[in-house]
């Protein structure tokens, strides 16, 4: 089965069928997804798992209402059943004026995120070798390494999206991710370290050297934290390291810039376009088109080309992240941020790769000019309430800053604050922009996202520790 060959006449017929009782936008989404996952723990490759799922979804928009039906299976019967399920929801409606659609040519952009070595062309045994290389590197990092968990995953999603605007997009997406989690133990003290590598790219992304680098970085974090002391409690200057520090912007600000929260008035950024929401040195972007980026695709899951969107410019709020539905509601253009985890999920506005642009200082300067503070090298993830902007973050690796130098590693720290407050308090940004990979959860849907930033300083933030 190849979704690309789904017959144009069938797609047109399904769109017309969906609109037969009314509605003002109809879409068919057909997806064939394959994946493979390998996992090593305790030096052993555990149950290897993978497979293939194909399914289709039909969506109908009527004003601000969404009707959505999906099923496993991509044959005519499955598509027809889905079309009938959504059309039934429009009981008593009249046929829409646009029920006759002529689909244009299929658009695709195969060169946007080049795949040099398709993962399915590589023997699974070769992928297993990378896990062993990662395991060996992590374990040789020190006698106190107690456990290493190494993961490899690749996926290929082929999607075909056709809608009542006559648009038809085919997108063939390959991604690869490699991760290492290490547990270090010294007596009763146990610490963990995690590092990942991923991209919208092929198997060329990972080789033995890359696997070793990831493992060594994860091991170093865990080992460092063995020497850590409980973090202090209180308000102090906080320096966020490049890379993982960007998770904070993603959670504390990014979610509030997604147009669904904005449209419902459930975001602190509602109605604040043009207003000052950050310090004047802050420029922030979302870039779903970043070549081979982990959060990148050529098109979003509504067939809109991805793009680089300005979110904040010199501290002023410039734009939000839209899917088609919210763009319609709010009179804006879609920004290519309509994403869905699979055909089983309704598209919603999501970040892709979101980052704060680099500044002029060096990372060393930022630390050196901080007499006393907290340095968050890597964040463990966190939660935010978009409505209030309040957030909490765990710090996986943190240090005390004393007299402009990093000193004691600190454990058990959390960063507590409010999204707008901390952006206004950014007073230094370094020049060392770095991107990291993550999987963001929202409304029960996981999406690969990139987060990034350069090293930056927040003049004051609450650190919640256990000391």
């Amino acid at each position: 089965m190849d979704v690309r060959t789904t017959h144009r006449d069938l797609l047109q017929a399904i769109i017309a069928r969906t609109l037969r009782r009314g509605g003002d936008f109809a879409e068919v989404y057909v997806e064939d997804r394959e994946g493979l996952g390998l996992r090593l723990e305790d030096g052993r490759i555990e149950a290897t798992s993978g497979g293939r799922e194909a399914g289709a979804a039909v969506r109908l928009l009527s004003g601000e209402r969404t009707y959505y039906a999906f099923s496993d299976g991509v044959d005519e019967a499955a598509l027809t059943a889905a079309a009938d399920a959504v059309a039934a929801a429009m009981a008593g409606g009249a046929p829409a004026g646009l029920s006759v659609v002529m689909l244009g040519d299929v658009r695709s952009a195969p060169d946007k995120h080049p795949v040099k070595v398709p993962p399915e062309s590589v023997a699974i045994a070769r992928k297993a070798e990378l896990l062993r290389a990662g395991d060996a590197a992590a374990r040789s990092a020190g006698a106190e390494i107690a456990q290493a968990m190494v993961g490899y995953g690749d996926s290929r999603r082929r999607v075909l999206i056709a809608n009542s605007l006559g648009e038809c997009v085919y997108d063939d997406r390959t991604s690869v991710r490699f991760s290492v989690q290490v547990v270090a133990r010294r007596g009763e003290i146990i610490q963990t370290g995690m590092e990942t590598l991923g991209g919208s790219a092929g198997f060329e992304l990972v080789d033995e050297a890359a696997a070793r680098d990831v493992a060594v970085a994860a091991a170093a974090k865990a080992l460092t934290m063995l020497d850590s002391k409980p973090a202090p409690v209180g308000a102090m200057p906080v320096v966020l390291a490049n890379g993982f520090g960007g998770v904070l912007f993603h959670e504390a600000c990014g979610h509030g810039l997604e147009a669904d929260a904005v449209a419902k008035g459930a975001s602190i950024y509602t109605g604040k376009i043009g207003e000052v929401v950050a310090a004047p040195i802050v420029n922030a972007y979302d870039d779903g088109a970043l070549t081979n980026g982990w959060g990148s695709q050529a098109f979003d899951d509504e067939g809109v080309p991805t793009q680089k969107t300005v979110l904040i410019e010199e501290g002023r709020l410039i734009g939000y992240l839209y899917d088609r539905l919210r763009a319609r509601q709010m009179g804006a253009a879609p920004t290519g941020n309509g994403r869905r985890q699979s055909f089983r999920h309704v598209p919603i506005p999501r970040m892709t790769t979101t980052y704060i642009a680099p500044g002029e200082a060096s990372a060393d300067d930022v630390i050196a000019s901080t007499p006393h503070g907290f340095y968050a090298k890597s964040l463990a993830g966190g939660q935010v309430e978009p409505a209030s902007g309040n957030f909490v973050f765990g710090v996986a690796e943190g240090y005390l800053i004393e007299h402009g130098r990093l000193t004691t590693p600190l454990r058990g720290a959390t960063l507590v604050g409010n999204g707008i407050d901390i952006l206004l308090r950014i007073d230094m940004i370094a020049d060392d922009l770095e991107m990291k990979t993550g999987v963001c959860g929202k409304d029960g849907q996981g999406a690969p996202v990139g987060t990034g930033q350069a090293t930056l300083r927040i003049s004051e933030m609450t650190v919640g520790g256990t000391a």
Partner: protein
């Protein structure tokens, strides 16, 4: 579906695979979202697929497919065998051979099968209306959802196992934003059952509104070491993290704070904690787990002592004991893993009103943010953001927010002094818990 499952077993046998298990599912679900008394989203879903687990000399391979035609079945069998060839052998990995009959439970209610979209929509509308009417400070109900599901699972294996059951469930949920003087606070609530008649939309809307409104006017508070009362929502979040540490998988891999503590005192003497997959009123009630093993009640903590852990077939064999029926699957696309079913927190209770009136200084915690990211399930250390209400002189006084609660899980369990009389199911983790009173917790504020 058993026809397809049998076909897979035959294909696998033809390819020389001896120990094979097939898990298939077929399900439908509906979901309604309303906003400002209008339907915002209506979703209808059908799900159908199967997964094949092959054991070859202790090496395990898994593959899944949604394509139940001949080509798809042939492909999934080939993949499962290929995957087993890459995995390393493990002497404890073997085809499950469940002993005993499935638990005598029937998590299925015929009444739900005749529910109409009109009825579903009216429940969601009633939930939202109740929340909006509950308090003038309710600004909006950001999410109001009604959802239900109806599914059947089938398990068969080359050892002759052949089991299936059908289950259904419905729930409603509200997430409320309340506002006062520019400050926004949030609250949520759920109701769930197996028939529309089980759901009380008014109660759901009112509770979500009340939980948001009671936090309005919240400020930071000074740092202090005081007793805290975790309400059932917050207690459930902590037990959710603890329960993953109570799986044999986490313990055997040294990833649990309970490793090596079986038979030891790990909690306040009054705490009882059970996992019970066969509890009829539990959201996760089922006759058997994702490996065909009967669901049962498993005591985890009794009299404050760690009594046992949760096992699937593999971890059970490794420990030289039987599975507890906790080999659960998220869907046909995934391998079974060790997870809790329904967690039941019990023990002698004290009226919540007496607990509050007997507390000179403390915090009633009604909201915790970051329990999953801010708690380390291995070391047990945690530091989470909380909001709640100060208890002063035996009375609930000022709401607080932007404060942290820190400690370690074992220390916290050991300091449980009382349980409230307000036990309730908190979905998400399917946990039945009352409020917990914990002494000497570090509250970090200004």
């Amino acid at each position: 579906m058993f026809t397809v499952v049998d076909a897979v077993l035959e294909l696998a046998a033809a390819r020389g695979a001896r120990d094979v298990e097939v898990y298939a599912e077929s399900a439908t679900s509906r979901r309604v979202k309303v906003f400002q008394q209008e339907v915002e989203q209506l979703t209808a879903a059908q799900r159908r697929g199967l997964g094949v687990r092959v054991f070859r000399d202790g090496a395990v391979g898994y593959a899944y497919t949604s394509d139940l035609a001949d080509a798809g079945l042939d492909d999934v069998v080939r993949r499962a065998i290929d995957h087993a060839a890459v995995s390393d052998p493990d002497e404890f990995a073997a085809l499950p051979a469940p002993a005993g009959e499935p638990a005598d439970v029937h998590p299925f209610d015929e009444r739900l099968t005749v529910a109409t979209d009109t009825q579903r929509i009216s429940i969601a509308l009633a939930v939202e209306a109740a929340a909006l009417a509950a308090d003038p400070r309710v600004k909006t109900v950001e999410d109001t959802i009604y959802a239900d599901g109806d599914g059947e699972v089938f398990i068969a294996s080359s050892s002759g196992l052949r089991r299936s059951y059908r289950s259904n469930q419905c729930y409603a949920f509200a997430y409320v934003l309340a506002e006062q003087d520019g400050q926004v606070e949030t609250g949520h609530s759920y109701v769930l059952g197996r028939a529309l008649e089980d759901l009380d939309p008014d109660a759901c809307g009112r509770e979500a509104a009340a939980r948001a409104c009671r936090l309005l006017g919240a400020r930071k508070c000074p740092s202090m070491k005081v007793p805290v009362v975790l309400d059932p929502f917050v207690a459930a979040a902590f037990f959710g993290v603890l329960s993953s540490a109570l799986t044999a998988d986490a313990v055997q891999k040294g990833r649990s704070l309970f490793a090596g503590r079986e038979g030891q005192r790990v909690a306040g003497e009054l705490l009882e904690l059970d996992d019970d997959g066969a509890r009829p009123d539990g959201p996760d009630c089922a006759p058997f787990d994702g490996e065909g093993t009967p669901c049962q009640r498993t005591p985890l903590i009794g009299g404050g002592v760690l009594q046992g852990l949760l096992y699937d077939t593999y971890t059970g064999r490794k420990a030289g004991r039987a599975s507890t029926g906790n080999g659960l699957r998220g869907s046909y696309a995934g391998l079974p893993g060790v997870h809790p079913t329904n967690l039941i927190v019990g023990g002698p209770v004290t009226p919540l009103a007496d607990i509050i009136s007997g507390t000179d200084k403390g915090v009633l915690v009604t909201n915790a943010v970051g329990v999953h990211s801010g708690a380390n399930p291995i070391s047990g250390e945690f530091s989470v953001g909380i909001s709640g209400i100060l208890i002063e002189g035996g009375e609930l006084t000022t709401p607080v927010r932007e404060v942290t609660l820190a400690g370690d899980m074992l220390g916290m369990l050991g300091s449980i002094r009382a349980l409230g009389d307000d036990a309730r199911w908190v979905p998400g983790g399917s946990i039945l818990t009352p409020s917990l009173v914990i002494d000497g917790m570090a509250v970090g504020g200004t």
